[in-house]
């Protein structure tokens, strides 16, 4: 019997997220509740500019890295 793997992406090499058709970087950030000001995103190793978060597609199986540059009081 063949088992279909559910569509999935991995965020920061740890957190698994269900993938869906048409998913964008912004969708990933929303799902993770990442709304920090100093954020750098790459999808499968390629960096995505902030202006393109809402349009940049995230493919099934992608490794998405979301780096928060730490600041704090």
């Amino acid at each position: 019997m063949r088992v279909e793997k559910p569509p999935m992406i991995v965020v920061n090499n740890r957190d698994k997220l269900d993938w869906r058709e048409g998913m964008t970087v912004q969708d990933v950030l929303n799902a993770m509740r990442f709304d920090y000001a100093l954020i750098v995103v790459s999808v499968n190793g390629a960096q995505v500019e902030k202006d393109a978060f809402a349009t940049h597609p995230v493919p099934d199986g992608a490794s998405v890295q979301v780096i928060h540059i730490a600041h704090g009081g």
């Binding site: 920090y36 750098v40 600041h71 009081g73």
Partner: protein, 659 residues
């Protein structure tokens, strides 16, 4: 941001909507002469040399490209006869007034003008004459937010001045004006502190000024609200201490977050923490009428609040800005640290609610979470050294020991929820989900303040330091780096509360160090002392101080492994209520990380398994961090490490060996 196509001299360029035309033209390699444009300052179009022809909806007109915002598709022509004629006449006029200023000559030559018909009584032969470009006026305003310099007079009498033509005492000699002056009209007298290379310091300091002027509004909003900008962020990431660090968020946080605070801050400028600082993150609330205490009814100016102060209030469950300001004012007035006070009172509140103490014991104060009025009354009693207030003023460790002695509660419970290490109260971050932050706090030689290692995001959210070795390196590098710049008198805030736009060019782990800003600090050191510095030398310098601090800790009886052990509240959920509030997260960790099936287990059983795992992890990270620091398994610097650092003095070796 939407992109708009602009046709420039026949070539198409995609331009972000609302951005100015000049950078887009220059990005195509087309030269445009300017005298008043500066890449880090708001463009004004004053010199009018950057004019180009813009065609839009069938109409053509001349516009100054530096401050022309692109809002629709347009055609731009940069070299038409009309444009050339306009520039030529202007250039000739500039050259007539300032014939010997190199930048004017250079720009005029680009416009095809090498001599002028317009020499007159106002011609200034000085090669360093002020050409009224306004760079200095804008730098004073936008870099330093001071507005000390401005223009006065009209027409040919227009000139640069300070108010009333006198030297303004508010000018601290930051030299931003001189730095951006294209002619050398403003001279700098470099006799302060006698740095070896003041220009080197200025070159790197001005980079920070430019970043603050151009990036801060899009990043941390430090100029608008200071460090309190992260109150809401911490809440959303479940990191804001609430009810003595039991929880990381609360529905009432919007009442004290950045947006609420913005409405109450009355001065958008620096309050003098360090005058001349382009970040100016210290904020002020004016005309605040006090409701309690010796100054009740008086209107005062309140400094702050900083993040830690606001979060100390959320930790006490006091989500009320009027309370935050009053608490902040009286802590400052009484010389009480807001963090230690907030953390201690939060502990007292939890003990009150748990029945460890009652209203009779507290001198009539109903110290439940959120009891703003009672907290203020307690603060006044602490300052007066009166009754229960005098006890609370002695801090968490004193209270834990006293209440244990009096048999008021199980000492182990008090230890678990009393947030102090080495006798110092925790600063205001929930560290439960970040192993590196737990160790960063509890291993800090000065006690769990956040200055030595603030690794929460790097560890918990970014997962940038997944292995024990990675965490140990972070616990080696960041405490040493932060100790180092603290020793130099350099502020932490401009290291990582603004980040260069191109910081992302570095791989993630390097990016977290903000390499360009580390380099700025090295250059400040070199400019001051004349000695070049690199990472290795910085770490060696800092390790000497850090290890000496550790030895002093040991002399004071607080420098052993047991002194680096956190209260369990800093590591995991102490109470059932805490566990159950985040049960999904903890159950998942039991399943995924420990292989413990939570199904059918009681909360107590699950808590026990989680605690065993987490404390095991904590001890592993401490082992790895000690090793990275050159300390033995008890947290004592080894004699080999002291030798390596040139610190093997007999007195210090004796401390290592112990009595």
């Amino acid at each position: 941001m939407a992109q708009i196509n602009v046709i420039i001299d026949g070539k198409t360029a995609a331009v972000a909507a609302g951005s100015f035309l000049l950078p887009a033209i220059r990005s195509l390699g087309i030269e445009i002469p300017t005298l008043c444009f500066h890449k880090d300052l708001t463009p004004t179009g004053m010199c009018r040399l950057c004019v180009v022809e813009v065609e839009s909806r069938g109409k053509t007109r001349l516009v100054t490209s530096c401050n022309y915002p692109v809002r629709e598709e347009i055609a731009v022509r940069t070299g038409t006869p009309a444009v050339a004629k306009h520039r030529e006449i202007l250039a000739e006029m500039y050259l007539g007034r300032w014939p010997n200023v190199p930048i004017v000559k250079e720009v005029a030559a680009k416009c095809g003008v090498n001599s002028s018909r317009f020499r007159s009584a106002i011609t200034d032969e000085n090669p360093h004459a002020c050409i009224l470009c306004g760079h200095c006026v804008r730098a004073c305003d936008e870099f330093i937010q001071e507005r000390i310099l401005d223009f006065a007079g009209r027409g040919i009498k227009r000139h640069l001045t300070m108010p009333y033509g006198e030297v303004d005492p508010r000018c601290v000699g930051c030299t931003s004006c001189a730095y951006v002056c294209p002619t050398g009209a403003i001279e700098v007298n470099d006799d302060l502190n006698h740095p070896v290379d003041p220009q080197m310091i200025r070159d790197h300091g001005m980079k920070i000024n430019a970043e603050m002027a151009t990036l801060d509004d899009k990043q941390c909003c430090m100029r608008q609200v200071g460090t309190a900008n992260i109150v809401g962020v911490m809440d959303r990431y479940d990191l804001l201490p609430v009810h003595n660090y039991r929880f990381g968020s609360h529905p009432d946080t919007p009442r004290i977050d950045m947006n609420a605070l913005k409405k109450r801050l009355t001065q958008g400028v620096s309050d003098g923490c360090w005058k001349g600082c382009s970040m100016a993150c210290a904020k002020t609330v004016d005309n605040f009428e006090l409701q309690t205490g010796p100054y009740r009814g008086q209107k005062v100016c309140v400094d702050g609040p900083e993040y830690e102060t606001a979060a100390a209030c959320s930790n006490m469950g006091c989500f009320d800005l009027d309370f935050v300001f009053e608490f902040n004012f009286y802590c400052d007035t009484y010389a009480i640290d807001t963090i230690s006070a907030g953390t201690t009172i939060a502990f007292v509140m939890e003990c009150f609610e748990a029945g460890v103490i009652d209203k009779t014991y507290s001198g009539g104060l109903e110290l439940r979470f959120g009891a703003c009025a009672d907290v203020l009354e307690l603060l006044h009693r602490m300052a007066r050294g009166e009754g229960f207030g005098a006890d609370v003023g002695k801090g968490v460790r004193y209270l834990k020991e006293k209440w244990a002695r009096e048999g008021r509660a199980d000492p182990a419970y008090l230890q678990d929820i009393g947030m102090e290490v080495k006798g110092l109260e925790y600063s205001e971050y929930v560290s439960k989900e970040s192993l590196a932050q737990q160790a960063g706090y509890a291993m800090a030689v000065k006690g769990p303040q956040h200055d030595e290692a603030w690794l929460i995001f790097m560890d918990m959210v970014n997962n940038q330091i997944p292995s024990f070795t990675d965490k140990a390196y972070a616990l080696y590098y960041f405490p040493l780096w932060r100790t180092w710049f603290g020793l130099q008198g350099l502020c932490k805030i401009v290291w990582n509360d603004v980040v260069p736009a191109d910081n992302k060019k570095h791989p993630p782990q390097a990016a977290a160090k903000i390499p360009d800003h580390v380099r700025n600090y090295f250059k400040f050191f070199e400019g001051m002392t004349g000695k070049p510095l690199d990472e290795k030398m910085m770490l060696a310098q800092s390790a000497r101080a850090h290890n000496l601090q550790r030895l002093i800790c040991r002399m004071l009886g607080k420098g052993a492994r047991e002194d680096d052990m956190p209260p369990y509240r800093a590591v995991g959920p102490v109470t059932k209520e805490e566990y159950e509030s985040r049960a999904e997260r903890y159950d998942k960790q039991l399943r995924d990380l420990i292989g413990f099936d939570p199904a059918g287990k009681t909360t107590e059983e699950k808590m026990q398994a989680l605690r065993k795992f987490r404390m095991g992890q904590y001890n592993k990270v401490v082992d790895a961090a000690y090793k990275a620091r050159g300390w033995d398994e008890n947290g004592v610097p080894t004699i080999e490490r002291l030798k390596e650092l040139g610190m093997d003095l007999p007195e210090l070796v004796a401390i290592v060996k112990g009595p």
